[in-house]
């Protein structure tokens, strides 16, 4: 310490070697990378919203058990909560905002409560105009978020319920804009994703209202995170879009991947060109990897839907990528099984839909699915799940039993049919025949036809009769839909005509 020659102010020379500063900079960089990764992980965990999965731990998971009585209680609550919401909107005093948010939250919770969300009751109670009002510009984020969340749940309902969202679309699109906070924009994207999934007509509406732009913009700078900033830069250079999408989807943290997956949902839903470009990339592989590795519902939904869109939208995928014998084909089926076995109705429905498109492929595809573990799950779902899922499942099972042929008339795959019927799927199809939904009824009838025609040793009619199939078909005797009517009548005449029972 008492060094006689100490020069207390010796400073480093301006002209110094690059080495030491560079070493320090490199180490600091490693620390920065670590911090960024920690923050990214934390952000993902935080955004992993529990609402859709188990917002209320006290609600029984096994909602299939919900009785009619419970359902009507739920509907009453929904009507009440709509009244509350309307009151809250009319109220102008102190804490008005909080009242609105609370009412919206209650409604959202009801709408996500069971496997049979009271969407119809909400719509009947005038939910749509009220919710559109709640989306008005300048509303606080929380209100927007809850509203968009309500709309997401409504859009997940039946087709006509999804269509009810039409008046809300322009505002949902607007709130995906760059001025919105990320949770709001994400929720809006989710709601629109449900709309776009519904069909051609709604997709055209979305396109004409300019939904694609703000979706792309969602990848724009996410408040300082360099990964997102880079994602944006690359997206803007149109050349790199595809590449960026694939890269971020593959490498990004779950949050980023979720955003990108929604963009893919849109691209595959809205644009054939994009779908075909994506189909030729290794997107499918990436989607499958994500489906296999993630358990985040937020991420799984758009990824699964992208996969479905891809398989449905471009025959290239089924013809060239999902070739039987390719490892990826096997893995697609595995992840589908994972999703079908999931607790979440959305995952079940989406995966059944995607699988139905695979099942519509070649005989090889059908064999592959048939020999997988999917069949037993599908058969169970056909009898236990909510109607919309049942319908998707019916498509899969139906597709498994027929193969396309040169002549146009499908060829029956007898051993598949036998094993499915043996597995107990017939009652599910017979139920569908009784459905008011034309499409479902047609599916049911078509399957009954296969059974009647195809089961060996003429067992078909007996089996159908055992499931009250005759009664179900006779319902169509005077049905207004001509196609169904004649189909049902022909079947009854052909297999249960005057001769039926005589030779038994």
């Amino acid at each position: 310490m008492a060094d006689e020659n100490s020069t207390p102010h010796k400073r480093g020379p301006l002209k110094s070697s690059v080495g030491s500063a560079a070493v320090q900079r490199r180490r600091d960089h490693a620390v920065t990378v670590r911090k960024e990764r920690r923050e990214a992980l934390m952000r993902t965990k935080r955004l992993c919203r529990v609402g859709v999965s188990s917002d209320d731990a006290d609600v029984p998971v096994d909602a299939d058990m919900a009785t009619d009585e419970e359902q009507s209680v739920l509907e009453d609550q929904t009507v009440k909560s709509m009244e509350e919401l309307n009151l809250a909107i009319a109220y102008q005093g102190k804490g008005a905002m909080q009242k609105r948010v609370n009412a919206l939250r209650e409604l959202r919770r009801l709408l996500s409560k069971s496997e049979y969300p009271p969407v119809e009751a909400a719509l009947k109670a005038g939910a749509m105009p009220t919710l559109v009002q709640c989306l008005s510009f300048g509303s606080p984020d929380e209100q927007l978020l809850e509203t968009a969340w309500c709309l997401t749940n409504i859009a997940a309902g039946k087709p006509e319920e999804t269509k009810a969202l039409l008046p809300a679309l322009p505002l949902l699109i607007a709130h995906m804009g760059e001025k919105s906070s990320l949770p709001v924009a994400e929720q809006c994207a989710w709601a629109l994703g449900n709309v776009a999934g519904e069909g051609e007509e709604l997709r055209d509406v979305l396109l004409s209202q300019g939904a694609l732009q703000p979706l792309a913009r969602m990848m724009l700078p996410n408040k300082g995170s360099t990964g997102h900033a880079k994602a944006a830069t690359e997206l803007i250079r149109i050349d790199g879009v595809l590449d960026a999408i694939l890269r971020h989807l593959k490498r990004g943290d779950e949050e980023l991947a979720t955003e990108v997956a929604w963009v893919v949902v849109y691209l595959t839903a809205l644009s054939n060109v994009a779908t075909s470009m994506l189909a030729k990339s290794d997107l499918l592989q990436i989607l499958v990897d994500r489906l296999a590795s993630s358990n985040s519902l937020e991420l799984l939904i758009p990824v699964l839907r992208s996969l479905g869109n891809l398989v449905a939208g471009d025959s290239y995928v089924t013809d060239n990528v999902l070739v039987a014998g390719n490892e990826v084909t096997v893995r697609v089926i595995q992840v589908m099984i994972k999703c079908l076995s999931s607790e979440h109705r959305v995952l079940k429905k989406e995966s059944a839909w995607a699988l139905s498109n695979v099942a519509a492929g070649s005989v090889e595809h059908k064999k592959l699915i048939h020999s997988s573990g999917a069949v037993s799950i599908l058969i169970r779902l056909l009898s236990t799940s909510p109607f919309d899922i049942r319908k998707e499942v019916a498509y899969v099972l139906g597709n498994l039993c027929v193969a396309p042929s040169e002549s146009g008339r499908p060829v029956l795959i007898v051993d598949h049919l036998v094993s499915l019927v043996g597995g107990g799927c017939l009652s599910g199809f017979a139920d569908l025949v009784r459905s008011a939904d034309i499409e479902a009824a047609r599916l049911g009838l078509q399957f009954l036809e296969l059974v009647l025609r195809g089961m060996p040793n003429g067992e078909g009619p007996k089996l159908v009769e055992a499931e009250d199939g005759i009664e179900a078909m006779e319902r169509f005797q005077f049905h207004e839909n001509e196609e169904l009517r004649s189909m049902a009548n022909q079947l009854v005449d052909k297999y249960f005509g005057e001769d039926y029972g005589l030779d038994a």
Partner: protein
């Protein structure tokens, strides 16, 4: 009670190592067996005029070392040990020490001064030894000069050891009076004047009140300025050191004196001996430091709340200061470029010129340009070098608009000089200047590029050529290439360096193989430049980077195969291994960042890991640090697959966590645990018992360097995020640690800036741990285990909010914790949250923050809270 220790102390300084070791052993035993007697014996020895100076001096040093240590925990231990000694022993020791101040042996006196200051440093804050300062001062005027010298020296050391608030103003006044009078020209004894001047240097921190009083300040300043004119060079040097310290401590009081100071400093710079001239330049450098800080605080808009106004001393002095500094540039020493520790007038002058440029910006250019133009083509190398150095010095500070046109003209000239100038100093400085050009005027943020398709090839050719020049020139050429590459780090998919990539890499590898690469830190520069070239490269050259992996692995392999090395060679090997590991770290990061290249990299993962494991087996701290950084990068690249390396790697991880002594290794290892957690997720569970045990041990140890604590806490969070509810079994250990650290870090009152900064990093670590634990447990049935901790955590948030001294990072993390708590505990914590201050005032403050990161966290926290309290 005192024992005869003379012989042992003399033996302890013997040239015969056996004798020496034996004596040291004896001293150690004595100390352990009877500390009071040991210390007393030493003080008696020190005080005894009959004893040889050597044994007295060593007695004093051993005594001093028993009172103070560098390591915080040992220092604390020593302080406690002294305080618990018997009062009568301490009195006797202190009496001996004071008595020694009158010794005729200067070494004994000086040693006693230092020991007294150490004892004072322990006792005065405890309100013990209150009579010390008084007794030192009482006889300062009536004693022989040598006693006066020792007394004043003691006062100086005392001021160095003790914090200003410990001594009351009355005593401060007396100390300053004694010291300043001792400096006065009336003081006949030179040693007294020198001791006084040096004592003032330490006492300046105590003179706050005195510098606020015009009369007293005038007086002190006059005496200091007079002392700068003393015939004694040591006094002049010490006086300038005082002036430098005044310049930074009392900048705002300097205006009345600045003209005089300029006059005396310029005379000193021009005519005085080098040590004095260097301090005179240092005065202006430190004024630049002050003004740069102040102007930084202004931050462009002048409404900011800087406490101190800028007096623009540098700007005012510019017309005279710049020529003064330019003159110094011509006073180079031969061979200064080969000597790493060199510090002379020219170097100090150039360094100061660089600071002036940063202080005044564009205004530096006009007064410097004529000097450059006049000298840059002269026949004398000193003139050419000085001109180039002047140019290089002013490249940071002025605007690109001002500099770019000049640089565009100069660039061609520089490139020619670097190839053709006959003098190595000139080439050295030219290459350095090119590096400065690329550092400050080249990059994605610069509007008008300096490097264009027209000159890029020439620049690179010249730099690569210069890498074959003398080691010091080659090192600077590497530096220039380093900044050139860095400027392209955000260049996008196509880099202008792509066509040259292979050639550049090969040239740099050649440099690392030069026989003389050990000189001028050339090898380090070459590897770090290689790293920067790789880091800034694009996918166009990814294939070449993949090839480089194999080259670097081969090099590393070679260092591991070498056998029977001399200790000198081993040291070189070790340094080389460190550089190669650093290189691997950068390459892994680079290739790991995109998928196609990651797959290319992963085929080497096993081999890389094997090499790194062998490096760890070599047991050298620096290399461990670098190898750990590579491991961290590899863990991200391999993800879950890193699991297969864990069985072999784990022991080194544990070893790193146990390495208190080389705390940087410990800190880096703690960081790597976090990397591995993120890579392995719940697969890390199998190793968590060991890791947590080690981390908890680290935290409980008082030997651990404090800087490692915050990362350890953050690491708790990383682990909890990875293993989720499995963290349950560690809660009962981790939570109390976090809680007590939180209590300690809640309040900072009275701490200095450095302490506040540390406290904030500690808080951040604690908060990151809480966030990780909450988010880890989210959605698990075990969340209720966290409920008992919630009140304390909320209280912690409230108290740091009330303290009002957290930085932005802590604010962001803290409000995030509030959200995490609400998110995970939900309605279970609803009432608690509602009651907390944090959920209202703190949250609102964060919501209206200008910092978007804070705002984002706060918005999320609000959502989470609303969800929690509405359920």
């Amino acid at each position: 009670m005192a024992m005869e220790v003379t012989q042992i102390l003399l033996s302890a300084q013997s040239v015969d190592s056996t004798v020496r070791k034996h004596a040291e052993e004896n001293l150690k035993q004595f100390q352990e067996q009877n500390l009071p007697a040991f210390l007393l014996s030493l003080s008696v020895e020190l005080a005894n005029e009959e004893k040889p100076v050597d044994s007295r001096k060593l007695a004093g040093l051993v005594l001093k070392n028993a009172l103070d240590a560098k390591e915080q925990h040992r220092k604390y231990e020593f302080v406690q040990r002294w305080l618990s000694l018997d009062v009568s022993v301490k009195s006797q020791i202190k009496a001996c020490l004071l008595q020694t101040l009158s010794s005729t042996a200067i070494d004994a006196r000086s040693t006693a001064s230092q020991v007294i200051a150490k004892v004072a440093g322990i006792e005065l804050p405890q309100k013990q030894w209150p009579e010390l300062v008084g007794s030192l001062l009482s006889n300062v005027h009536q004693v022989p000069p040598h006693v006066k010298q020792a007394t004043i020296e003691t006062l100086g050391y005392l001021c160095e050891e003790v914090a200003p608030e410990v001594i009351d103003q009355d005593q401060v006044n007396k100390i300053l009076t004694a010291v300043v009078q001792g400096m006065n020209a009336n003081e006949a004894n030179i040693e007294v004047r020198l001791a006084s001047t040096r004592a003032l240097y330490n006492a300046l921190g105590f003179a706050q009140a005195n510098f606020s009083n015009d009369m007293e300040r005038d007086y002190i300043m006059r005496v200091v300025c007079e002392a700068t004119l003393s015939p004694e060079v040591k006094i002049r040097q010490a006086a300038y050191e005082c002036l430098v310290s005044i310049g930074s401590t009392y900048y705002e009081k300097l205006a009345p004196y600045i003209q005089d100071i300029f006059n005396i400093t310029s005379k000193a710079v021009r005519d005085d001996e080098e040590p004095v001239a260097l301090q005179a330049i240092e005065f202006w450098s430190s004024i630049c430091d002050e003004e740069i800080d102040i102007l930084d605080d202004y931050g462009g808009d002048f409404t900011a709340d800087s406490d101190v106004p800028c007096y623009y001393f540098i700007k005012q002095a510019l017309p005279a200061l710049v020529p003064l500094l330019l003159e110094t540039l011509l006073k180079q020493e031969e061979d200064q470029d080969q000597d790493e520790g060199a510090w002379n007038l020219a170097m100090a002058g150039g360094t100061c010129l660089g600071l002036v440029a940063r202080t005044v910006g564009d205004d530096i250019v006009p007064p410097v340009m004529p000097f450059i133009e006049e000298n840059i083509t002269k026949g004398d190398w000193r003139q050419r070098e000085a001109a180039t150095y002047a140019f290089g010095s002013i490249l940071e500070g002025p605007s690109p608009d001002k500099l770019t046109p000049i640089v565009n003209v100069a660039l061609g000239f520089m490139l020619t000089a670097l190839t053709k100038d006959p003098n190595s100093h000139v080439k050295d400085t030219t290459a350095w200047t090119l590096g400065r050009i690329f550092e400050f005027l080249h990059g994605s943020s610069v509007e008008t590029p300096i490097i264009t398709p027209a000159n890029c090839q020439q620049i690179i050719t010249v730099l690569l050529q210069s890498m074959k020049d003398a080691p010091n020139v080659a090192e600077k050429a590497c530096g220039a290439l380093y900044f050139l590459a860095q400027g392209y780090e955000d260049v996008g998919p196509t880099s202008p360096l792509t066509p040259y990539f292979q050639e550049i890499v090969q040239s740099l590898l050649n440099v690392t193989h030069r026989e003389d690469a050990g000189e001028s830190r050339l090898r380090t520069a070459a590897y770090e430049t290689l790293n920067e070239v790789v880091r800034s490269s694009t996918e166009e050259t990814a294939r070449l980077v993949v090839e480089l992996v194999q080259v670097i692995m081969t090099e590393l392999h070679k260092t591991l195969e070498a056998q029977k090395l001399s200790s000198d060679e081993r040291e070189k090997q070790t340094e080389l291994q460190g550089l190669l590991c650093g290189c691997l770290q950068v390459i892994i990061q680079k290739l790991g960042a995109s998928d196609p290249t990651k797959y290319a990299l992963l085929q080497f993962a096993d081999q890389i890991m094997n090499l790194l494991l062998r490096v760890f087996a070599c047991r050298n701290a620096t290399v461990h640090e670098e190898a750990m950084l590579s491991i961290g990068a590899l863990a991200y690249a391999t993800g879950l697959n890193f699991a297969k390396y864990m069985p072999d790697f784990y022991k080194y991880l544990e070893m790193g966590l146990q390495n208190f002594e080389e705390y940087q290794v410990c800190a880096v290892t703690v960081g790597v645990v976090g990397d591995i957690c993120r890579a392995l997720e719940d697969k890390v569970l199998a190793y968590c018992d060991g890791i947590m045990t080690q981390l908890l041990k680290d935290l409980s140890s008082n030997q651990l360097h404090r800087s490692v604590k915050p990362p350890i806490f953050s690491c708790f969070g990383d682990i909890a995020l990875a293993i989720g509810e499995n963290f349950e079994k560690y809660l009962m250990y981790a939570m109390p640690m976090l809680q007590s650290a939180a209590e300690l870090s809640a309040h900072t009152s009275g701490a200095d800036d450095e302490m506040i900064e540390y406290t904030n990093s500690l808080r951040n670590g604690i908060l990151e741990a809480y966030s990780g634990i909450f988010q880890g447990f989210k959605n698990s049935p075990k969340t209720q285990l966290l409920i008992p901790y919630a009140p304390h955590i909320l209280q912690f948030l409230d108290s740091i909010y009330i303290e009002k001294d957290m930085d932005d990072i802590v604010m962001k993390t803290a409000i995030g914790v509030l959200g995490d708590l609400a998110d995970t505990l939900g309605s279970n914590a609803g009432a608690l949250i509602r009651e907390s201050l944090s959920s209202k005032d703190f949250l609102n403050e964060c919501l209206s923050s200008d910092d978007h990161l804070i705002k984002e966290s706060a918005e999320w926290a609000r959502l989470a809270i609303n969800r929690a309290i509405s359920v």
